[in-house]
């Protein structure tokens, strides 16, 4: 169990970095996990090609809340391309059935590697990815509303 619920997940599920709302988001997305009724809203604001602001709200299990909290810590202030690359790498990790990715990808993921064990439990995959699905959609919306800076995301969860 400790392998699934790593300390960084338990901590982030309680401290919840980035919980709140943005005054004037460029994009936002609401996602729901119909099996448990968990939901989240992710808001983003862009400054050129930079993800200048991210805030989230919602309710869910420790996995989903920690994933949102870490997402906020790792992507806010980053270049869009980097945030999206991180998101794709994280999706790859969660779909990897509990196995590590290649070392350079694990390095990129930093604390997100704590979620590696989630991939062993198919019922929890959506918990880990709910916030990242919202991020992807919010970014797509923000690109449209700000005139489409950067490249559109293309991979599927």
């Amino acid at each position: 169990m400790e392998q699934l619920y790593q300390q960084v997940i338990l901590d982030h599920s309680k401290t919840r970095s980035g919980e709140g709302q943005l005054p004037a988001p460029n994009g936002q997305s609401f996602q729901v996990n119909p099996t448990c009724g968990d939901e989240c809203t992710v808001q983003v604001s862009l400054d050129g090609t930079r993800l200048s602001g991210l805030a989230w709200s919602g309710r869910g299990c420790s996995i989903s809340q920690a994933s949102l909290s870490l997402m906020h810590e790792m992507v806010e202030g980053e270049e869009l391309a980097e945030a999206e690359q991180l998101g794709e790498t994280f999706r790859e990790l969660i779909h990897n059935r509990g196995q590590d990715l290649v070392p350079e990808k694990m390095e990129l993921l930093e604390d997100l590697t704590a979620f590696t064990g989630v991939g062993r439990y198919s019922a929890r995959v959506k918990c880990a990815l709910l916030g990242w699905m919202a991020l992807r959609e919010a970014l797509a919306q923000a690109r449209l509303s700000t005139g489409g800076s950067g490249q559109a995301p293309h991979t599927q969860a």
């Binding site: 169990m1 699934l4 448990c36 009724g37 968990d38 299990c61 996995i63």
Partner: protein, 442 residues
């Protein structure tokens, strides 16, 4: 298990073998060894503790054998074909109907096979809809609904006994109303005035799949009958846990599901009083439910065939028959007493786990061994995950009953539910496991 079945056509369908009838030794039942899956290991070699019977029950070897025996020896389409195995299949299919009818206190012509209870509820609601659209001739006019009419459900319902009525109300203009729940998760019988002279249908559950509360059917029935409303009972949670007799209850329609009562998935049943089924227009139409078909129009068979369009799930009905034979041989009174005993242990154990809040009656009166609960600060998925790690299978989520969760101010819960095969060791393991959950997330 691997021995080759021998053809015993003359004795098909057969009565339960002596070995299938458990001897009475103690008050508590000890049937787990009849259920092969209960001896398997999960999560790195831990014995399976199955407490998710409310979602689906496990099947005894007798049910598995009956289905296999049917498929190996008698498989054919029913009510068509004149060859020997078609006759045998039809005989088995109709004998299953008789056995299930006897088990729930109905006449054989009052049981309609459906693929599950959800379909059975949709069959009733769509029968009303089709009557409201003018189908079914003058005899179906008794089911016509319009904007002046009301449909009553309850806040306790599974979505299957709520959404079809919402749809019916939306399509006919009828008003949907509901009986609220008390803080203890029982139907609030002080608020039965929602059933009034405009009420045409009252649909309610026999026992809640969340709170475990058993409904006072007679009180609701009295009120409904006093205003001339039709009554629909969702017996999914009760049929495998309590003695159920629809004639004695006096209900108009009822539904139940094979897989929740030790039987296969893919089969459920609708009960309807004969004269009511006679007047109800069909829901699904097509082959097997017709008399004369021309290019312009069609006349329909009498019930129950009128409601059984298309090729039927024959092996599953045979499995369901084996399930009710099994339960009948044990005796539903003994089943109820056994589960009552388990409910007592669960109730006491749950109240001793720090912080745990029960979503349901805190007394063991008129309740099933179905316990949904909230662990404040710990999401049900996390509770379920740590229990699962110990080999304990429970349900997490809203259990297809969002409104009753909302009434408790939560979005989801964890639920432990017992069945005829559940042992005291199972429920004790669960209580121990829950203590570990609370410690883990403290």
């Amino acid at each position: 298990m691997s021995s080759k079945p021998t053809a015993t056509i003359a004795s098909w369908p057969r009565p339960p073998r002596e070995s299938e009838v458990q001897p009475v030794l103690t008050d508590l039942l000890d049937l787990a060894s009849d259920f092969p899956i209960l001896s398997r290991k999960v999560r790195d070699g831990k014995p399976l503790v199955y407490l998710d019977t409310g979602a689906t029950s496990q099947k005894p070897r007798q049910v598995l054998d009956a289905e296999r025996e049917f498929n190996e020896l008698h498989n054919a389409a029913v009510h068509r074909g004149a060859h020997q195995i078609a006759e045998e299949a039809t005989e088995a299919f109709e004998a299953a109907r008789s056995a299930v009818a006897r088990f729930v206190g109905a006449d054989v012509g009052e049981i309609v096979w459906t693929k599950n209870a959800t379909e059975a509820l949709n069959l009733i609601a769509n029968g009303f809809l089709n009557a409201s659209l003018g189908r079914g001739g003058s005899s179906a006019s008794r089911y016509k609904l319009g904007p002046e009419d009301e449909i009553v459900v309850t806040e306790l319902e599974h979505h299957a006994n709520l959404v079809p009525w919402q749809e019916l109300a939306a399509k006919t203009g009828a008003r949907l109303r509901w009986i609220p729940v008390t803080g203890e998760g029982r139907l609030d019988l002080q608020q039965l005035e929602v059933i009034n002279e405009r009420t045409r249908v009252v649909a309610f559950t026999h026992a809640s799949n969340v709170t475990g509360a058993i409904t006072d059917v007679a009180t609701i029935l009295d009120r409904a009958q006093s205003v001339g409303a039709y009554t629909v009972l969702d017996a999914c949670q009760s049929a495998a846990h309590l003695p159920v007799d629809f004639h004695q209850l006096g209900i108009d329609f009822a539904v139940f599901s094979g897989h929740k009562m030790l039987g296969p998935t893919g089969v459920g049943a609708l009960y309807g009083r004969r004269e009511l089924l006679e007047a109800l227009p069909p829901f699904l139409t097509g082959g097997s439910m017709v008399e004369v078909v021309t290019m312009e129009e069609t006349t329909f068979m009498p019930p129950p065939q009128r409601f059984e369009a298309g090729t039927q799930m024959v092996a599953q009905t045979v499995g369901m028959r084996a399930a009710v034979d099994y339960l009948g041989a044990v005796g539903m009174g003994r089943v109820a007493a056994h589960e009552d005993h388990l409910a007592g242990i669960l109730l006491e154990g749950l109240t001793q786990v720090p912080g745990v809040r029960l979503l349901g009656p805190t007394s063991s009166e008129q309740r099933l061994a179905v316990f949904a609960f909230d662990v404040p600060g710990v999401h049900p998925h996390d509770v379920g995950q740590v229990l699962d790690d110990q080999g304990i299978a429970v349900r997490v989520g809203h259990h297809c009953a969002q409104p009753v969760h909302r009434s408790f101010g939560v979005h989801a819960s964890t639920r432990a539910s017992a069945g005829v095969y559940t042992t005291t060791a199972d429920v004790e393991a669960f209580i121990d496991g829950l203590h570990k959950v609370v410690k883990f997330f403290a």
